[in-house]
């Protein structure tokens, strides 16, 4: 099964289950943040978007202390695939599973729009349906999606091919003008060094049905399903 972690304040948790289960036919279920362990048949973990604990302190800061997160960490360290979107990305950064931090958007506004995303590294299990240079269209909706990392972390991300997605223009051009939130290097999504933990600000679960935002998000979720089922 695929575990969609439900924190108090999660919003896109049910949307993630809808995408995974109803649309992509995977066995996905909500797992309560207060559980001390993931289900024993867990093949992959999704940390969904939303406002866990209201995002009152910092986004994701309180959620990472939830009991189930200790087991998610163990799961990731054992190589299990973990995907965090939006608030889930923030939780993964706060809990140290991914480097860096997500900060207030450059213009201080919440932004809801469809972003163009340039595929860069395709080395991880999450990129099985992607090719370098491809442009995906997936919605973003966040107030704190400005990716920050210290120079050495950033260099390591680049060197190790951990940068999967960058914000770009319709034809793939990456520039300040195509950066919606001020993220360093237009970074929209990264993996950990091992490539089994993926965090991104865009919402793949909101791009899985043609009439509801297109189907580019399904490429990412299907990759996770394959990775989990192959494991």
């Amino acid at each position: 099964m695929f575990a969609v972690i439900q924190f108090p304040g999660s919003n896109d948790d049910r949307d993630m289950v809808h995408a995974m289960k109803t649309v992509l036919s995977a066995d996905a279920r909500l797992v309560w943040h207060g559980d001390s362990e993931l289900p024993s048949d867990c093949r992959g973990v999704l940390v969904p978007g939303g406002f866990s604990y209201g995002d009152y302190l910092r986004c994701g800061a309180m959620a990472r202390f939830s009991p189930v997160m200790a087991d998610v960490k163990r799961f990731a360290e054992n190589g299990g695939p973990v995907l965090g979107t939006c608030n889930g990305f923030q939780v993964l950064c706060e809990s140290g599973l991914l480097p860096g931090a997500l900060r207030r958007n450059r213009d201080l506004h919440f932004i809801c729009e469809t972003a163009s995303l340039l595929v860069e590294s395709t080395g991880s299990v999450f990129a099985s349906e992607l090719s370098p240079g491809q442009v995906l269209r997936i919605p973003i909706k966040h107030g704190e999606g400005c990716y920050f990392a210290h120079a050495d972390d950033l260099a390591a991300l680049e060197a190790n091919g951990q940068i999967v997605l960058r914000y770009c223009g319709p034809d793939g051009e990456v520039s300040e003008a195509t950066n919606p939130n001020g993220s360093l290097g237009n970074i929209a999504g990264i993996t950990n060094r091992a490539g089994n933990v993926f965090g991104l600000m865009p919402h793949p679960e909101h791009a899985v049905e043609p009439a509801f935002g297109g189907t580019d998000g399904a490429r990412l979720l299907r990759a996770l399903i394959q990775a989990g089922e192959g494991a």
Partner: protein, 754 residues
């Protein structure tokens, strides 16, 4: 006779104190009679909030009674927390719109946020999962830095709360007019979906059943907040009312929604109600009144946030994110456990009695003992005098023959597209989560929002609901009867443009001080127009809200009856959008353009005047037109349908060429030159829709059969918008890019200059 003791420290209750509580001398006498004694201080507080305009509807009741409220598909009309309509498959839509005008003027972020929070509670209190929000917001001119600040704040508040709670904001209205300079409007709408046989009501039934309090603790915030703020004009004392502002807590609301919905999927509770304006008092009275029961409450059991609160403060506090419910006997533990799992307080605070009295105890003393009915059901009802405004006839005068013809139609079009009322509202909507819950087929930017219906277990259906909020306050000021009819007609037409059938409406009647006969006349006329239009279109009024005293220093807002129409689309895989989707489609104009320039944006732009009679509303035509749209979309003949409203034909056609990301597909049209060209281009005749079709013959035939005027006027394609009179030189021929740039920059360019 009832007994209730005064507490040491309570002020002496007399006629003078009653006046300070905004009770009239007559109401004071009434209280003495009802109780047979002098009220205690908390009792006086209760009467004052329950009988304030905001809770009692004393000025408006008489008129609201005349509205059509029932139909076969109406499951719940006005009187509950929100209205409900059946949408088939055993499902119901619950919806309502509510104002938060005064609080938002005092503190825009929190005022708007708590407005959203309040309307959400009205929806989920009935067992429905809130799925779509709209916000209808109105400000003074953007040249005024104060109103730029207010707009930024309100948008931050609406978004901050709605985004966090996890309900998509899919549409709304954003307007600017000097009449709102001293009194902005913030009307928040929400719609939820529920299994029709699982609708919960706010009733306190079952003698002996426990009364349970859940949610945030009660604090000292908002005492006399909504009730008093919304029941008096603004004067210079607005600043002193500041302490009544409350801070919203969307995280708690999010947990409250999940906990309440979980609870309502069990059979532990028999009645549930949120604590809105006037807090604990109002909800307890309403619940008992609806059930014909009484309640005894141990007030000291209520979770408290602040130290040393008095019963008076506890009863009148308007702390947010609180619910009151009546559970089945013996289920107390199960109920409280659900809330605790979501990190929320829940306490048994009382029980239902059979004596029809509200008894409130405080550390062993009874401090309130009032019969329920006279306070709620028998609250005062006034028959306020009405009088047509002296200046009305004057402002309705407009001699169009004396108006110089438009010399520069291209310049006028660009200026109108850039104007704050007609320009793109993407700056606003971009700050809202338009997608969460994954049902948004059409979000902000369409004629109506279109939202797929899912069952509560997440199973998607083929159904979708279309929602549109509309009001043209200028028209309502020129003629409140016709203006309100036009608002109902437009909202229904917008809904029909997606292909949906309008089902029912909710409304928020924003007016000035009802004690003035001229304002009361506007109100009465608007309600009359609302009722007639709702009747004619078969869309009953199932919920609503009245916001009076929208005046500052004697100057009232324009009458602003915000209408929100909800319609049903049986198969969302067939729906129309308001943009052109393909080049080479035939453009058809449905409806008739008359020489109507009264009250138009163009008239204001060219002459600075707001004058004349608003365009005629033909409800018969409207019904035929909307039926045609529905059938045409269902038959696959209509892929684009865009309502012609503010700014007239030229503006509407331009809007059809704007895609959600930028300039889209252009258009070439020819208009028959029968009436003055500026009226053809910019007149705002109602009942017109621009349609794009790949089967024009079938559509024209269908229109003919339906008795709807329809003319083939051009084709989509290219990257320009060109409008030409038959056989003449182009009036307008502008690149879509340029039109779009003007339209898109309207708000940002005015707001980004700090």
């Amino acid at each position: 006779m009832s007994e209730a003791v005064s507490l040491p420290g309570d002020p002496k209750v007399d006629e003078q104190l009653a006046r300070e509580h905004d009770l009239t001398d007559e109401e004071w006498q009434n209280i003495l009679e009802i109780l047979g004694r002098t009220p205690t201080y908390p009792e006086l507080g209760i009467f004052s909030v329950m009988w304030a305009e905001h809770c009692s509807y004393k000025s408006s009741k008489k008129h609201l009674k005349t509205l059509p409220t029932s139909a076969e598909h109406v499951l719940q009309g006005p009187g509950e927390n929100a209205g409900a309509v059946a949408i088939g498959d055993g499902l119901a839509a619950i919806f309502k719109v509510e104002s938060h005008n005064h609080p938002s003027f005092i503190e825009p972020v929190q005022g708007a946020a708590t407005g959203v929070g309040g309307i959400l509670r009205d929806i989920f209190t009935m067992g429905a999962r809130p799925v779509a929000s709209l916000d209808s917001i109105r400000f003074g001119p953007l040249e005024d830095p104060k109103h730029r600040h207010l707009l930024r704040g309100v948008v931050e508040g609406v978004g901050g709360y709605g985004n966090s709670v996890g309900v998509a904001t899919v549409g709304g209205e954003t307007q600017f007019h000097p009449c709102y300079a001293g009194n902005i409007l913030v009307n928040a709408f929400n719609l939820g979906i529920v299994e029709a046989d699982n609708i919960f009501l706010g009733t306190a039934t079952g003698v002996g059943n426990p009364v349970i309090y859940a949610g945030s603790k009660t604090g000292r915030d908002g005492i006399h907040g909504a009730s008093l703020l919304a029941s008096a004009e603004f004067g210079d004392e607005a600043d002193q009312m500041r302490p009544t502002v409350q801070v919203g807590d969307p995280f708690t609301e999010n947990c409250l929604i999940e906990a309440c919905l979980e609870l309502m999927s069990t059979d532990h509770v028999v009645g549930i109600q949120d604590m809105g304006a006037a807090g604990l008092t109002c909800s307890a009275f309403e619940m008992a009144s609806r059930a014909g029961t009484g309640i005894v409450m141990e007030l000291d059991q209520v979770p408290q946030r602040a130290a040393d609160m008095t019963p008076y403060e506890m009863l009148l506090s308007e702390s947010q994110e609180r619910m009151l419910m009546v559970a089945r006997k013996g289920r107390e533990a199960q109920v409280c456990e659900i809330f605790q799992r979501w990190g929320l307080d829940a306490m048994v605070v009382g029980r239902v009695t059979d004596d029809g009295r509200m008894k409130i105890n405080w550390h062993g003393d009874t401090v309130v003992d009032i019969p329920v009915d006279p306070v709620s059901a028998a609250a005062p009802e006034l028959d306020r005098p009405t009088q047509e405004p002296a200046a009305l006839r004057e402002r309705q005068k407009l001699d169009t023959s004396a108006l110089p013809p438009e010399e520069d139609p291209e310049g006028a079009l660009l200026a109108l597209l850039d104007s704050p009322n007609l320009c793109s509202k993407a700056w606003v909507a971009r700050q809202y989560d338009q997608l969460v819950q994954g049902n948004t087929l059409i979000g902000p930017g369409g004629d109506a929002a279109l939202v797929r219906v899912k069952r509560d277990d997440g199973t998607p259906t083929r159904k979708a609901l279309a929602i549109s909020a509309d009001c043209n306050p200028r028209w309502c000021w020129l003629d409140p009867f016709a203006g309100t009819q036009a608002a109902v007609a437009e909202s229904a037409r917008n809904v029909a443009c997606t292909g949906a059938r309008p089902l029912a409406l909710t409304n928020c009647l924003n007016f000035g001080n009802p004690e003035k006969p001229e304002i009361m006349w506007e109100f009465a006329e608007a309600v009359r127009g609302l009722g007639e239009a709702a009747e004619a279109l078969g869309t009953p009024v199932i919920s609503g809200n009245v916001s009076l005293y929208n005046e500052t220093k004697g100057s009232a807002i324009y009458p602003t009856p915000t209408i929100v129409m909800v319609g049903l689309l049986e198969d969302h895989t067939r729906h129309a959008v308001s943009q052109f989707r393909e080049a080479g489609r035939v453009i058809v104009l449905l409806g008739e353009t008359r020489e109507e320039l009264g009250g138009s944006e163009w008239l204001l732009f060219r002459t600075g005047r707001e004058a004349g009679l608003p365009p005629r509303v033909d409800l018969d035509h409207e019904r035929r037109l909307q039926g045609l749209l529905r059938e045409g979309v269902a038959a696959g003949e209509i892929e684009t349908a865009h309502d012609i409203s503010d700014g007239g034909f030229a503006v509407a056609l331009s809007e059809c060429t704007f895609s959600s990301d930028g300039p889209g597909i252009g258009a070439r049209v020819e208009l028959r030159n029968g009436i003055r060209p500026d009226a053809l281009l910019f007149g705002e005749s109602t009942g017109r829709v621009i349609v794009a079709t790949d089967s024009p013959d079938a559509l024209l035939e269908r229109a003919h059969a339906a008795g709807v005027p329809a003319a083939r006027i051009g084709e989509t394609g290219g990257d320009r918008v060109s409008i030409t009179p038959t056989g003449g030189e182009a009036w307008v021929d502008i690149p879509v890019q340029e039109l779009h740039a003007a339209w898109a920059a309207g708000l940002p360019r005015r707001l980004e200059a700090v």
